[in-house]
């Protein structure tokens, strides 16, 4: 098994293997990645950077695609769920 990285998702600690995406880290804590314009919960659809349903706040930067972002030790992630 590869090394584990620890991130914080909405204040909760989660561990993922090195090489995992931020999306994978979030999925350990919640499936609610963002709220749509009419307020319904959304989660990743395409897994490849096209649909933008996985947008979250990472280390203070908004609208980051979680599926395209490699998880890094100590990252602070906030969903809009």
């Amino acid at each position: 098994m590869s090394r584990l990285l620890r991130l914080s998702v909405n204040g909760q600690s989660v561990d993922v293997p090195a090489g995992a995406s931020v999306a994978a880290a979030i999925a350990q804590a919640t499936l609610h990645f963002r709220r749509s314009v009419r307020g319904t919960p959304r989660a990743p659809l395409c897994g490849m950077g096209v649909c933008f349903e996985c947008r979250v706040r990472v280390d203070g930067v908004a609208h980051v695609r979680a599926c395209m972002t490699p998880a890094v030790e100590g990252m602070q992630v906030y969903t809009d769920g």
């Binding site: 994978a24 933008f52 599926c67 395209m68």
Partner: protein, 429 residues
């Protein structure tokens, strides 16, 4: 100042990797960029648990001879080159020859419940899983169409998911006809047999379509319509995709001529993979869905041709045509059943970025009119999803590409004077 390459390759999937290697073998200075953090594209996407296949490892090893530009996303075209956004800033990349290898995305079609968390693409689920999405012990339904369903199911299972079944829309008779054709393609037959072995015990049902996803805040179950009627299956994850469509947005932005195949465009190329714009080549999925074998051959051809070695490119044509023959087989056998086009009802959201329902689009015969009146296609995905879906549903074709190709930071775009400040693509980023 723009960095400049003899040959610049966009997309580091099997096509782009082969292209970069072929061009570099002639001594050309090659730049290879990808929006992703790692090379491999879709099929060779990094898996946190499992080693990459040998062909992929060999392709990655050739990166030593090229300038590998990870997390470089092309967002616009400028007179001196391509405007590229990176996590830390932006760059301008110039080139003498450009090879487009931007691949394909899934054909994701609307049906009631498809916006629920827990519903994703088939290839989408595979991609998420490879990157560590927790699926161990989860009950998963795989559905849609084509051989990608088997590949996705095999990945999910290898990561510990309980794959409850694979639901293929094509009829059993058609799938049998397809399987009998595999006799002429021994390598493909072997691949298919290996996949089936990895999926031993998983039901594979033909003529079956997921017509609805149920759940409140997230997915709880799906309704499958099959030859023996309608069935409700409780599950945690639905992985559903109806094959692939070429990602032509960058090619279109650069002015390369497109060609319609069925309801979706692909990039038009000649026998040496030259697009209609001098100096720009296109290869792999964007010139028509062809799969891994085509990707690798066409990538090599484009690399040779872009470096000025036409003979070497030409020598691969017969091999390429044969591989394309298999792709054509897939196309005819996994054609979509018209009932899939009727799954979405008036209340089903089609534009997920702006929450526009199919009913709200009644009466519009043109993407532009629909956009102005309803905001359909104005969100962050820039119409990639709803545009392809509406074209597939026979409503109207997608409108053309406009910069930036993806929502980009204002700082990235600041160097780009041809953008109008009212451009809605600023939004959503």
């Amino acid at each position: 100042m723009a960095k400049r390459f003899d040959v610049l390759v966009v997309g580091a999937g099997p096509t782009g990797l082969a292209a970069a290697q072929a061009a570099a073998s002639h001594g050309a200075q090659v730049g290879l960029l990808d929006a992703q953090a790692r090379p491999g594209g879709q099929v060779w996407r990094h898996d946190v648990r499992h080693q990459a296949p040998r062909a992929a490892r060999e392709a990655f090893a050739t990166l030593d001879n090229v300038t590998w530009l990870a997390q470089h996303s092309v967002v616009a075209n400028e007179p001196q080159g391509l405007r590229v956004e990176t996590p830390g800033g932006s760059e301008l990349l110039g080139y003498n020859a450009l090879i487009l290898a931007t691949g394909a995305r899934e054909r994701l079609l609307p049906f009631p419940g498809w916006t629920l968390p827990g519903v994703c693409g088939a290839g989408g689920a595979q991609a998420l899983t490879k990157q560590g999405w927790p699926v161990a012990g989860k009950r998963v339904v795989v559905a849609g169409s084509g051989p990608l369903l088997l590949a996705a199911a095999a990945t999910l299972r290898a990561h510990g998911a309980r794959v409850l079944g694979i639901y293929e829309q094509a009829s059993a008779a058609t799938v049998r006809r397809f399987a009998s054709q595999l006799l002429h393609w021994p390598a493909r037959a072997a691949q298919a047999a290996a996949l089936r072995a990895r999926l031993a015990g998983v039901p594979y049902r033909c003529g079956s379509v997921v017509q609805r996803a149920h759940g409140e805040a997230q997915l709880q179950g799906v309704e499958v319509d099959g030859p023996r009627g309608t069935q409700r299956i409780d599950c945690d994850l639905l992985a559903v995709g109806y094959g692939l469509v070429p990602q032509v947005e960058l090619a279109a932005l650069l002015g390369c001529a497109l060609q319609q195949t069925g309801k979706h465009p692909r990039v038009r190329v000649d026998g040496l993979l030259r697009t209609s714009v001098p100096g720009i080549f296109a290869a792999g999925e964007i010139t028509g869905i062809g799969g891994l074998a085509v990707a690798r051959i066409e990538g090599t051809m484009a690399g040779h041709a872009a470096a000025g070695f036409d003979q070497e490119a030409h020598a691969l044509r017969a091999q390429r045509d044969k591989a394309r023959g298999f792709a054509a087989l897939l196309d005819t056998h996994f054609a979509l059943d018209p009932r899939i086009h009727r799954l979405a009802d008036a209340r089903t959201i089609v534009c997920r970025c702006e929450d526009i329902t199919l009913g709200e689009l009644d009466g519009f015969g043109d993407a532009r009119d629909a956009k102005l009146a309803t905001r359909c296609g104005m969100g962050a995905c820039q119409g990639r999803l709803c545009g392809s879906a509406l074209a597939e549903l026979g409503r109207f074709p997608r409108s053309g590409s406009r910069p930036p190709l993806f929502p980009a930071r204002l700082a990235t775009l600041a160097g780009h004077t041809s953008l109008s400040p009212s451009d809605d693509a600023y939004r959503g980023s």
